[in-house]
Symmetry: C2
Subunit: 432 residues, 2 copies
Amino acid sequence: MRPPRRERRLNETREAAGNGLLDRRAFLAESAGALATGAFMAFAPGEAGAAGPPETPTEMKVSGAPLSAYGAPATFEREVTRTLIRSQPGTTGAGASRTPLEALEGIITPSGLHFERHHNGVPAIDPAQHQLLIHGMVARPLIFTVASLLRYPMVSRIHFLECSGNSGVMYGATPPALTCGQTHGLVSCSEWTGVPLRLLLAEASADSRAEWILAEGADAAAMSRSVPMAKAMDDAMLALYQNGERLRPENGYPVRLFLPGYEGNMSVKWLRRIKVTDTPTMTKDETSKYTDLQADGKALMFTYPMEVKSVITRPAPGLRMTGPGLYELSGIAWSGRGKIRKVEVSADSGRTWAEAALSAPVLAYALARFRIPWKWNGAATVLKSRATDDAGRVQPTRDELIAQHGANVIYHYHAIQAWRVESSGEVKNVYA
Amino acid sequence: MRPPRRERRLNETREAAGNGLLDRRAFLAESAGALATGAFMAFAPGEAGAAGPPETPTEMKVSGAPLSAYGAPATFEREVTRTLIRSQPGTTGAGASRTPLEALEGIITPSGLHFERHHNGVPAIDPAQHQLLIHGMVARPLIFTVASLLRYPMVSRIHFLECSGNSGVMYGATPPALTCGQTHGLVSCSEWTGVPLRLLLAEASADSRAEWILAEGADAAAMSRSVPMAKAMDDAMLALYQNGERLRPENGYPVRLFLPGYEGNMSVKWLRRIKVTDTPTMTKDETSKYTDLQADGKALMFTYPMEVKSVITRPAPGLRMTGPGLYELSGIAWSGRGKIRKVEVSADSGRTWAEAALSAPVLAYALARFRIPWKWNGAATVLKSRATDDAGRVQPTRDELIAQHGANVIYHYHAIQAWRVESSGEVKNVYA
């Protein structure tokens, strides 16, 4: 007996890799074939069915809430928050909070959920009082007010920011029993607008022999990092706006340095000082921390760019599968070396791979959103994603990463992530 | 006597149009020449000067504020809010609030400042209870829960949304004494993520002879609009996420229709019903309002796409110029017909025009950010911007727009905006 027409169409959809991964183009606009029938019925078994109009809900019988001066998320979403993980017990402001990646979609992170990493809390800086000094190897030391910075030419760019310690827990001997965001949520992505740093360095007539700058924050930790002059003159900006509005306090209000692709701590927040130098300053923040201790006991310093990386955010720990059928796998990929070229996904623990669709626009130093349809047969399996950037760099396996750098390092973890999907629908972090 | 080197460099910068408009490339990355000296010193006269390090601010001497689960803007930005303009005195939830465009930069509008337009307030909808019915000319009427919609394939796109009544006050006999955002702030731009509507229509096996759909909201106004099937099958989506997180209540939580480029009211919020039909339904919302009354007494119906438009947001009413010197003019342009091709700016009331730089990426049905440097001589003058889209449509003058449509219409105002800059630095809305 022939299967019903709907099931035939579904079965005709080309399998792109093992264990049910379908062609990424199967449900895109150009795929007119899939539109002719209810091919997606399998997406919501038992949840969609023939019926008359739903009853008129209560909300339609009473006037709704008034307009508001500044909006907030729905109360029903109150559990979608940053996860606070303090690194210094007993302090209020030192630590990190993580973006709930598994609850988000697209590439923009709402500013309220952008990850935080503070070394001594969030200073409350009056922009009318704040000053930025540029000095050192310059012909003309300058002090800028925020008002003067706001008069300079600006650029806007959508860029990710990732803490070098993101996913560091994955170096541990056992896979963490955390949500996706709790493990990988020290990465976020915003539209940043600000003044190219090279304009201000030119204004101060920086010495052409200078090879470095020092950037210092106005927080109680005086967070300080050395930055190569080449980066400062290339795409570094003094960011004043985040996602359209002025910076949020926890992201450096009123002004931060922003270094596209570099580890997050170098994009110094609450920026108060730039010193032009001929050598790196060797600050506490680049000697006592933010160095990568290797297996042989040596430490790598000045490991700036974040490496190519990806993670499936749906499904992921913190979410559940709701029975066999068609799903869309969705995730994010990024590289501190440039643009994402492709993301491959495996539904059979890495034996076979299919290329996912990338949502346009795919931008340099920005999150890229990838998606691919998957017909889950209900059996336990392992999902993986593997990103390649336009420099040709490919995410390593966890074993490869540890073989290269050892497991003493706590920074720059970027290996392929494996999520085990149990037949119950539970999703777990595994080393596989 | 030769001018000092810095002034020479500035004078050498090519003037691109009358009254001080400079070449848009003058300060971009590719213009290495401008970097060699402090060409921008004129930007902040008296505000930047040689000095030693600023005093250590108080913020550096005490631990800062703790991490937070969901962030908020700096208290120093508390005046950057939506402006509430109620259209129905005595009601709490009918009216509109406007985005403070002159306080924003880039192309993303933070969701808390996205404009609102409600016809009977904001319903508080429990996503676990909400249902979406698809019925009418379909082989299989379906009811979708939000949970089932979340399993469907999604797309993410950055799109503007503009109320058809935006800038309507500009049809009046005298120019409004309002800020830029109060006049033009019924436009905002977000990254929207959701399910292509055509997938759900296919799921329901919509009749291929159907030419229209009806979309109905679950608010107390039962906001309802007819949408051509061609648009529904093209790029219409059921939006579930806005700027990464789930929709805000005032933007349709838990699900809204989104029609790229079309007037905002058609992107029906709190979507509860789609009926597939052979003709438009002629709802109250498309007969008693949202029609364009012409000078001859006839009214245009179904005027969907928002027309090509632009506005300079810096400087603009609500901001002040701070004395003669170099400025960057910054603004937004958009078109409901596609992408922005170019924006021209005039600093002499439209006698001469120079092309502004567009910030990448320039996306279809999205805000485009334009910028151009301007050397203001301190004399009163009039600034204008004029956008052209990739369909070749050019913004008309106000006189041309009124000659074509009359001044009875209150929708679809998109004429060239003139800002008068007084020698005092004040910026005013003028008809010029």
